[in-house]
């Protein structure tokens, strides 16, 4: 039996019935990593010793008859932009290549309380800026379905690790699609929760008003279980919302009869690969067969999401990334003549091209004389996009469409054309601007590459999304497909 390809809920049962120990499970995952990591390169840092120690402690507690949380002993991989006390946190950037945080992100604290086992820190596009993992300063992660192709991004390492059996679960962060798009490319489940549902404390900020941490999993049940662990108000994050976190697994009833789903025509139009469109149409048929009412709808300002995003996110990033100056931690340029020289050289040498591009874009957008024309206008567009969703949700419980307009593309294919790269996120960006939750689930295979279906819900409507995603999963087997 291949433990590394089981789901967390299956493994939970085996752990509880003592069929396996947490240590055995951890070893199985690291054996798998030993086997495939050379090809996949999902991890920036592996924490094997630490993981085995955690696992042994869980086993010891279980043998002693202690009551353990549901997820105790389950391996989880962490995107390397979440701070882990004592474990290097690089954001896949040269500028933080040696940075070891003195504190844990809130999500890490919650995972520790849940007694999960951290496998390691996964690769990403530098500071989560990118859609292919090719912007990592260290190396590019490969798509387990085709190692010549990208895993998507920015959370490509986490998605690939789940898909390749190098972990059971993973956390990613999603600013414009960075969880959902790689989930789609790698054939796994990935969810971006409502803005404010999961604490951002300890998530190294890219664009603070858009960033949100979320789960990667093999199926919707696992996704719901991990969501249960990480959601909830955090006094250390003033943008986290106090709300009663439901048990998300309780929504997984299989019953979606009478649910109303809208399909925005903007997500099924030009620019969407016809083969991807076909997959989505088949998914619609599945839902119709389950008694769901599916109708076309519109999100009229969708085409402005990309330009608005590429003003707001870089503007925030230009300020968020100002702290990397070589004064206190991280990379510092050698032989700088004076202070200003040190700032400039450190940042010139420490940041990659895409990060610099976005810092410059954002600096420009916030500059005196341009603020109103760019940043302020983008904020107004953001309001219009939110209003689009509000209107749609007056009529529909959920919205449905492709997660990405294409399947995974070849490495190097888009690196010289930033705009082409940005277009890969056209179906996901608006969701971040609106602050609402969305999931990507495996919905088909095209040319031996997975295609993701995106379901979008109302603010704090994670339960409704999971219910519908689960019902789809119950009636299809795409989530069981494994890369060869």
């Amino acid at each position: 039996m291949q433990l590394h390809y089981l789901t967390a809920h299956q493994l939970h049962d085996m752990l509880v019935s003592k069929q396996i120990s947490a240590e055995e499970l951890t070893r199985a995952v690291f054996d798998r990593i030993e086997q495939v990591e050379e090809k996949i390169r999902a991890y920036v840092t592996l924490t094997q010793e630490r993981a085995l120690n955690y696992a042994r402690l869980v086993d010891k507690a279980r043998l002693a008859g202690e009551a353990l949380p549901l997820m105790a002993g389950i391996p989880v991989a962490i995107k390397d932009n979440m701070c882990t006390k004592g474990v290097r946190t690089t954001c896949a950037s040269k500028i933080l290549y040696n940075y070891i945080p003195p504190y844990n992100a809130t999500v890490i604290e919650r995972l520790n309380e849940a007694r999960t086992v951290m496998v390691g820190k996964t690769n990403l596009d530098e500071f989560a800026m990118g859609s292919s993992c090719e912007n990592s300063a260290f190396f590019t992660t490969c798509n387990p379905w085709d190692t010549n192709r990208v895993p998507g991004g920015s959370s490509g390492g986490s998605a690939a690790a789940v898909a390749a059996g190098e972990t059971i679960l993973a956390l990613g962060s999603d600013t414009g699609g960075s969880i959902r798009q790689p989930a789609s490319f790698c054939g796994v489940v990935g969810m971006k929760p409502t803005y404010g549902a999961v604490s951002r404390y300890g998530l190294v900020a890219y664009a603070s008003s858009l960033d949100q941490i979320g789960p990667f999993a093999r199926d919707v049940t696992d996704c719901a279980m991990l969501l249960n662990v990480i959601c909830g108000h955090d006094p250390l994050d003033s943008t986290s919302v106090p709300y009663d976190v439901p048990d998300y697994t309780a929504f997984l009833t299989g019953d979606v009869k009478g649910v109303k789903i809208g399909v925005p025509r903007e997500y099924m139009g030009e620019g969407i690969d016809p083969a991807v469109k076909e997959v989505i149409k088949k998914a619609i048929d599945v839902y119709t067969g389950l008694g769901v009412v599916v109708e076309e709808t519109t999100l009229p300002h969708t085409e402005y999401a990309l330009p608005a995003y590429y003003l707001i996110a870089p503007a925030e990033a230009s300020s968020n990334l100002a702290r990397y100056d070589g004064v206190r931690y991280g990379y510092r340029a050698k032989d700088a003549g004076d202070l200003v020289d040190m700032f400039m050289q450190t940042r010139s040498e420490g940041f990659g091209a895409e990060v610099k591009r976005r810092i410059m874009l954002g600096t420009y957008a916030l500059s005196a004389g341009y603020y109103d024309a760019y940043y302020n206008k983008a904020l107004k567009v953001r309001t219009l996009i939110k209003t689009d969703f509000d209107r749609a949700f007056e009529q529909f419980d959920l919205l449905l469409g492709p997660t990405a307009p294409v399947t995974s593309f070849k490495r190097g294919e888009k690196v010289d054309d930033p705009l082409q790269m940005y277009m890969v996120d056209i179906c996901t960006l608006a969701v971040n601007l609106a602050g609402i939750p969305a999931i990507s689930i495996p919905a088909g295979i095209v040319d031996n590459l997975p295609v993701g279906l995106q379901l979008i819900g109302r603010p704090f409507g994670e339960g409704d999304i999971l219910r519908a995603a689960h019902a789809f999963e119950q009636n299809t087997d795409y989530h069981c497909k494994l890369p060869e």
């Binding site: 932009n81 701070c83 946190t89 404390y201 003033s238 702290r323 005196a368 603020y371």
Partner: protein
């Protein structure tokens, strides 16, 4: 030569007195070891988030109300972006277009004339850290950074350009300091940097409505420095105009040693701070009932208190102004008057001997060892004749230095006034016998000679004899 008029506005930074910093739980105590009061949040480490300290907002509202401002119903924090090593995030969290309080004013009095100075706004922000150099910033081989002050809460109070002289600027700052201190939201210690002041100064020909080009003056670390710097800058700008040149819009620094202002940077070199709303901090909706609650809790402020001191205690305007200069002094005075109901006498002692002793010892009212109750007790003993006025001064000094009760001082130093006629009479007889020459002089009509005899009696009684009684008894004996 044309007549010129100066136009002055002040930007004052006040450190708020809170136990913890504005966005984290680190302490704020002044004078700790470098980098002692720090945590991941105020160090701006990757991934951290700020959470606003409610006490800071409360203090800022309190200050705003005390300065007659309108308190915003909706307020937010913004980021002010600039690079400097004492600013760990390379942006300062401040407030830009929606400050917590606006449209206030305060009253000053210069040379007997009352004047109202407008207050444009009060906003909250975090303080930066401190660079420590060997020697000067331009010659030091390296600089050390101390982040203790990073994230200490500040309010910036911006005045309207309503002041016309250095005297008015100083009067404004003094009044502002008194008001803020009364509210208890800050110590306002200029030496420790908890009160800092920049001045915007321009000059224009009298009668011209249009404002002249302004210069911003920084680095004035005392009221004296403010007065000197403003006076200097006004003169400098007038000279520039008189020479037919133009004032340059720039930031200048006050060089205390040279007694002049020096150019720091011109308008062209000014930063573009790229302000934008801080996405890490949700905008604040300020509940009206909270504002009213804070208003209800405001203490009596300097102007009201001064007026009350005049009306309730019948004090001269001057006394009332001095006594209400700080809340602590006014409290001290009132506690004393409550126990010894002779307002003018208490005022004389507080403004006289107490102020003198505080001045000599460099102490502040809140640290003096003599309590209001002890002073009241001493005045009572003076009143009932236990001690003489002269001895009272000795007793007071001892009390000031030791914190002892007046009774204890009097007992230990055996300073009780001798009012026993029998005892004094004995000494009088002795003195008359020992000084026949003076007795003769007195009896021959030199009435002044009695002074010498009184002095002799006092000397023999170590100053404790009741002087009135001595005089009386001597006269009885001599006039026989």
């Amino acid at each position: 030569m044309a007549q010129y008029e100066a136009v002055i506005g002040l930007e004052v930074h006040v450190e708020l007195k809170t136990n913890t910093k504005i966005f984290c739980h680190s302490g704020t105590e002044f004078g700790a070891d470098p980098n002692h009061h720090v945590c991941p949040v105020c160090l701006g480490l990757p991934g951290v988030l700020p959470v606003v300290n409610k006490k800071v907002v409360e203090h800022a509202i309190k200050a705003g109300l005390a300065l007659n401002c309108q308190i915003a119903a909706f307020s937010k924090f913004d980021r002010k972006n600039y690079y400097y090593p004492d600013l760990p995030k390379n942006y300062q969290i401040s407030q830009y277009d929606l400050p917590i309080a606006e449209h206030g004013c305060l009253e000053i009095n210069v040379n007997g004339a009352d004047k109202r100075i407008g207050i444009t706004r009060v906003h909250m922000e975090e303080d930066a850290g401190k660079l420590v150099h060997q020697g000067t910033i331009s010659t030091t081989p390296y600089s050390l950074v101390d982040y203790n002050r990073t994230g200490v809460p500040l309010i910036e109070i911006v005045s309207e350009p309503d002041m016309r002289s250095a005297d008015e600027a100083v009067a404004y700052l003094e009044k502002l300091k008194a008001i803020i201190q009364y509210t208890g939201v800050s110590d306002c210690k200029m030496q420790e940097g908890s009160l800092r002041c920049d001045a915007n100064i321009s000059v224009r020909p009298v009668g011209q409505a249009e404002l002249g080009t302004k210069a911003e003056i920084k680095n004035m670390n005392s009221f004296k420095a403010l007065h000197k710097a403003v006076s200097y800058e006004i003169e400098r700008q007038i000279e520039v105009l008189e020479d037919g040149e133009k004032v340059v819009q720039e930031t200048r620094t006050w060089d205390e040693a040279q007694g002049e202002t020096l150019s720091m940077r011109s308008k062209e070199e000014a930063h573009d701070y790229r302000y934008f709303p801080d996405p890490d901090l949700a905008p604040m909706v300020i509940a009206r009932d909270w504002v009213e609650e804070i208003r209800a809790g405001l203490p009596e402020l300097p102007d009201e208190r001064r007026e009350r001191f005049v009306s309730a205690y019948s004090l001269p305007e001057y006394d009332a102004t001095v006594l209400t200069g700080t809340r602590e002094l006014a409290d001290y005075y009132e506690q004393c008057v409550e126990l010894y109901n002779n307002p003018k006498l208490v005022s004389n002692w507080v403004m006289g001997d107490l102020a003198r002793m505080m001045n000599i010892s460099g102490q502040e009212i809140k640290n003096v060892r003599i309590s209001p109750a002890q002073l009241a007790k001493m005045l009572e003993l003076l009143d009932n004749g236990t001690i003489s006025g002269k001895i009272a001064k000795t007793v007071f000094e001892e009390m000031f230095n030791t914190g002892k009760d007046p009774g204890q001082v009097i007992e230990e130093k055996e300073l009780v006034q001798i009012s026993d006629a029998g005892l004094i009479d004995k000494v009088v007889v002795e003195v008359i016998a020992a000084n026949p020459k003076s007795v003769e002089d007195y009896r021959a009509g030199k009435e002044k000679a009695i002074g010498f005899l009184v002095g002799q009696v006092m000397k023999l009684t170590k100053g404790k004899a009741n002087p009135g009684l001595v005089n009386e008894l001597l006269k009885i004996k001599l006039d026989k």
